[in-house]
Amino acid sequence: MTSTLTPAQASPETSSDAAAASQQEITGEIDAISAEYAATATVPETMPRLDYPPYRSSILRHPTKDPHHADPETVELFAPVFGHQDVDALEADLTIAHRGEPVGERIIVTGRVLDGDGRPVAHQLVEIWQANAAGRYIHKRDQHPAPIDPNFTGVGRCLTDADGTYRFTTIKPGPYPWRNHFNAWRPAHIHFSLFGTDFTQRMITQMYFPGDPLFALDPIYQSIVDPRARERLVAAYDHDVTEHEWSTGYRWDVVLTGSQRTWMEPETTA
């Protein structure tokens, strides 16, 4: 059983806790994959590669067979419905979950959830989670020596409105270290979980902040090998979202893929 081994004994090349490689080695692998993509790609890739060895824990967890094409049927043409009994309006403000004010830079993050044809995904669930301003998660696996903020949990939910708009008030998360390789740091990000009108549109992703110096070094961000595709995960600072003497603002739209429902629309909006 691997559980009886120390991280150093467990296969160093596939364990995310091994921290065996240097940043230079990881960056070299990232750059080699990028260069190969730039030289040979004919159709732009839009998704992360599941097989992306610089992210060590993907090595044993990616399917080796191509996904099998399926035409969505029956239940796959629908998605679960969430309503106001599921989500309290207060859950969209991550700064009011506790008695005191959390520490850090208060931000508003808003945007629209759209399908591939630009139609709003209305009244659907958006969930987020994140580290606090010091880069610490409320999670037992995150033990790095940065302070926990007693006034910040870092979990939020909301429903999109009729226009597909979501909006959260939160604290700007900090970058944090992880053990993919030695001295590995994740760029600051907010995890987003999204549903569409179809099961096939389900997605989980991460939203990043503009200009992060860690982008080039991060194998999770770089697993989306097409530069334009990965830039779609970076929010834009938006002064129209920023509020006077209160909060800075970011805008980030999400486009879901895989909807087959054009012809069923009247039924689903009922």
Partner: protein
């Protein structure tokens, strides 16, 4: 169908290791109350390319009810104990096993019934989709998707029975690798 220009999709990313305080919720794995007479357990183990359990995967299930009806009812996050919403979510335990309390879906529109499954995990850079078909169902014979899968891999899409219900193991990689699905509009 409208032929407006398609917007480029937003890429996915791994769920990471720290979703545990955010995504799982009380009652997430109880699509029906455990005491209901026709309740079954749908369970399985998620394994990696070495066959080791994956202890930090998150599984979601979406299904029709026992009559094959697709629920359009809210309430999956705050269950009332009576409404069947058809959707559930749970994280696996330390041994990589997930478990849902649910009902066996019936056929919808004459199609072989299945559970639609989504898999997330640390180390998995995007979600995976698959189907867990109800075993021994007469409609399996005529199912188009199953017929399109090579015979030696078809079994990975069909649950098996045990004393408490159904078992659907998920192998991310390697021997017996689960058939994962892509839908129109998806890459790959």
């Amino acid at each position: 169908m409208t032929q407006s220009p398609t917007l480029p999709p937003t890429p996915g990313q791994t769920v990471g290791p720290f979703y545990g305080f955010a995504l799982p919720y009380a009652g997430g794995n109880e699509l029906v109350p455990p005491g209901r007479p026709d309740a079954i357990r749908l369970r399985g183990t998620v394994r990696d390319g070495r066959g080791d359990p994956v202890p930090d995967a998150l599984i979601e299930v979406w299904q029709a009810d026992e009559q094959g009806r697709i629920s359009r009812e809210p309430g999956s996050l705050q269950r009332d104990g009576f409404t069947f919403t058809g959707w559930g979510r749970t994280s696996v335990d330390r041994t990589g096993e997930y478990s849902f309390t649910t009902v066996v879906p019936g056929p919808t529109e004459g199609a072989a019934p299945f559970f639609a499954i989504t898999v997330f995990a640390r180390g998995l850079l995007n979600r995976l989709f698959t189907r867990a078909y109800v075993p021994d169902h007469p409609l399996l014979e005529s199912d188009r998707l199953l017929a399109s899968v090579p015979a030696d891999r078809r079994g990975s899409l069909v649950a098996r029975r045990d004393a408490t219900g159904l078992v659907f193991d998920i192998r991310l990689q390697g021997e017996g690798e689960t058939v994962f699905l892509s839908y129109p509009g998806h890459d790959g």
